[in-house]
Amino acid sequence: MFASAALSNSTSMSEEGSASSETRAHDFNSLISFLTPTSPSQHLQQSQAKGKKKRSQPGNPDPDAEVVALSPKTLIATNRFVCEICNKGFQRDQNLQLHRRGHNLPWKLRQRSSKEGVRKRVYVCPEPSCVHHHPSRALGDLTGIKKHFSRKHGEKKWKCDKCSKRYAVHSDWKAHVKTCGTREYRCDCGTLFSRKDSFVTHKAFCDALAEESAKLLTTSSSSTTTTITTNPLILDHPFFPFSSLDPTIFTNPNPNPNLNYNPHPPPLLRPYAFHLATTEAAAAAAPPHLSATSLLQRASAVGPIITGAASCHVGCADFDAGGLATWHAGDRLTRDFLGVVAGEEAPGGVRDLLPLTCLDLVTAPHYCAQVGDHTCTNPVSETWGNC
């Protein structure tokens, strides 16, 4: 059985060129150690036998499939399709076939060697420490394993110009460059940012985090503007004998003394904003393995809902169910986000939010009707229930 596996490998991999031939010898030996007893795969078979054939999750391969282990060199090679006549390399098989036509081959050689009885192949990652190294977590697609290997274990050669984020796979880089700078981050206070660094810095200093939400309900910036605008009066007037008698010097020429870089949300919106702050708090308190970036991103992902809810009072079709679906984070993690150590009850903390959340239920009935659909099975709904 092993011998035939090695043979079928060699015939179907001929188009990949001579580079892989030495790897096949290695692979033959390693294949022996790879092919494990069938008990885990039996289990897989049973679960997959139930319904129609659907796409399996990555890294849960078809147990009947043949396991192939390619070398790192093969995985990162581009132009793996090589013309046997002139040895020119191509990235895609179709391109190679097009090229072969140009060689005017006699009819027999034109046909590619038929692929009889070739079983589905799955691929394992050559990196021993990788989770996809084991055959039971092999990936089903050659392109997939190549990209995985580059992403996880490869050198990050492609770099974004704007944010200098690095990528190993060219298509990943291309996809990022398309969206980089176009992505918007929204803070709890309503301000929109196109740059992550401004967003991060703002968020650290913003007064509108969930635990500070009491401040949202009070007026914000008007008091501080007056201190700036009265400065010139103190500064210029008593000192200069040369001061012109022109009184216009002493008036503030700025037509708009209202220094609001936060858009003032309409009163109806404020309870939303707060309510969504708690939503965002729960959403952001994701499972522990989630990165800091995603903590911030979740904050922004829920952001657009604020305007959505405000602008369409009926229907709310653009309600982001996906965002709310992340609510299944437990209560402990919510508190963690709010700054309470897991297991302890802080003096402020979740309790203080409850009276205000009740306020939301009263003032935003149609909104809560939407929310009710999503939260009936949620542990977080207990917070609501306590009102």
């Binding site: 704007k162 040369f242 903590l295 986000f337």
Partner: protein, 431 residues
């Protein structure tokens, strides 16, 4: 008034490309040809310089005439030249009447009163949004610190900066996002008493809260220093044995009295940092201290760049810009009209090459990595056009942020001298 008509005509954007740099343009005009000047900008700058010369030469009549004309022309709410004229007029007037020190003190206490945390926070955040002036130093320093201290389980950052801790959120976020264990971070902020107590409390609260959000174990300490930074004592900064120290100085080296600068650098060395990151504005008000006219010209050159940058970065009716310009005004007064024995309040800046010469006594320069350089270049591209990053050459090391080709901010990183031998010594002891 003829001069007023001038400024009305010169509204709107001028094509900066065709004009020669300020320091060349203004120096050659004379008093008699003032009325022939074809642009208000040239007039204003040359009038200011002429006035400085008149003060230096003790030419009372000329000085009075120019002060009067500048007063008519200048306005803190006008275009760049009008603003420059207004603020430099204040400085020249104070110099002429020997009232510099008292006026400076008055401005300091005024700032103290009016600059609440909320105000300064809003001003600096807005400034950072529209211009890379301060974030250039932040990005380069954070990059260097992150790279140097990678793998360290405990980090202690001694922050002596004038940017109200706005550097640290992105630092903490980067720490939390990168692969590997998140280190324990201690941040010791050296606060000068010009920063009032409530400001420090607010900074502390925000940083701690944000670190919690980022899930970075965090400690925040403050060391207060009275007026002069050189009063800082290293015992006040508690350095623990098991931590890796980074010293970060953004915009504050200039607040050390000129005579104490070498001593201050030695103090930094005694903190045993693994890396020292510096960001300073590129101007020389130190070596020019003895020559009033030269110092004035350098001051005018630098602040003309700064004011022009502010005009092009902010919206016309920006209050934040006004606050920043008032800060500049006080600085200008400090340089032109005060000396206070070279005291730190005058904020006598030095150029990168000069700081480098001082730092080389205790430290060796370390080049920013390619990644950090890419990051600052990307930063300079994100803002409105006009910014670029230039590598330092010659005596200075590090990078410059340049506005329209002129270097304005200098950033560099330094490691203690003889560091390699120290490390290998301790390894040998372990074996």
């Amino acid at each position: 008034m003829a001069s007023k008509k001038f400024c009305k005509q010169q509204s709107g954007r001028r094509n900066m490309q065709s004009s020669p740099p300020y320091h060349l343009r203004a120096s050659t005009s004379s008093l008699s040809s003032l009325d022939d000047m074809c642009s208000a900008k040239e007039w204003a700058l040359s009038a200011l310089q002429e006035c400085a010369r008149a003060i230096s030469d003790n030419d009372s009549a000329k000085m009075h005439h120019l002060l009067w004309m500048l007063n008519e022309f200048g306005s803190p709410y006008g275009d760049v030249e009008e603003r420059l004229a207004s603020h430099f007029l204040q400085a020249l007037f104070s110099k002429a009447t020997d009232l510099g020190d008292s006026r400076h003190n008055m401005l300091v206490s005024l700032a103290h009163k009016n600059h609440s945390f909320d105000t300064m926070k809003r001003v600096i955040l807005k400034f950072q949004e529209v211009s890379p002036w301060t974030t250039f130093g932040h990005v380069s320093s954070n990059g260097a610190i992150l790279e140097t201290l990678e793998g360290e389980p405990k980090i202690h950052i001694v922050d002596i900066s004038n940017t109200y801790c706005t550097q640290w959120p992105t630092f903490l976020e980067a720490l939390a996002s990168r692969d590997g264990e998140v280190p324990h971070v201690r941040l010791t902020v050296v606060a000068m008493e010009i920063m009032e107590g409530s400001t420090v409390k607010e900074m502390s609260r925000r940083m701690k809260r944000f670190a919690r959000l980022m899930r970075v174990p965090f400690e925040f300490n403050v060391v207060s220093v009275a007026l002069e930074l050189c009063e800082l004592k290293e015992e006040e900064i508690e350095i623990r044995e098991d931590e890796a120290v980074a010293v970060n100085c953004v915009g504050t080296l200039r607040r050390v009295s000129i005579g104490e600068r070498s001593s201050f650098i030695r103090l930094l060395r005694r903190l045993r940092p693994r890396i020292v990151t510096i960001a300073e504005e590129e101007a020389d008000f130190t070596n020019t201290r003895g020559d009033f006219v030269r110092c004035f010209e350098e001051c005018l050159r630098f602040y003309a760049l700064l004011f022009e940058m502010l005009e092009e970065s902010f919206e016309t009716t920006s209050n934040e810009r006004l606050v920043l310009e008032r800060e500049c005004s006080r600085s200008i007064l400090g340089v032109i009209a005060c000396d206070k024995g070279g005291g730190g309040e005058c904020e006598r800046r030095e150029k990168g090459s000069q700081w480098s010469a001082r730092l080389e006594e205790c430290f060796s320069p370390t080049k920013f990595s390619d990644d950090v350089e890419d990051d600052v270049r990307a930063l300079s591209r994100r803002c409105r056009a006009g910014w670029s990053v230039v590598a330092a050459e010659g005596r200075a090391s590090g990078l410059y942020l340049a506005w329209k080709g002129e270097p304005v901010v200098w950033a560099s990183a330094w490691k203690p001298q003889n560091e390699v031998s120290e490390v290998s010594e301790s390894y040998r002891n372990l074996m």
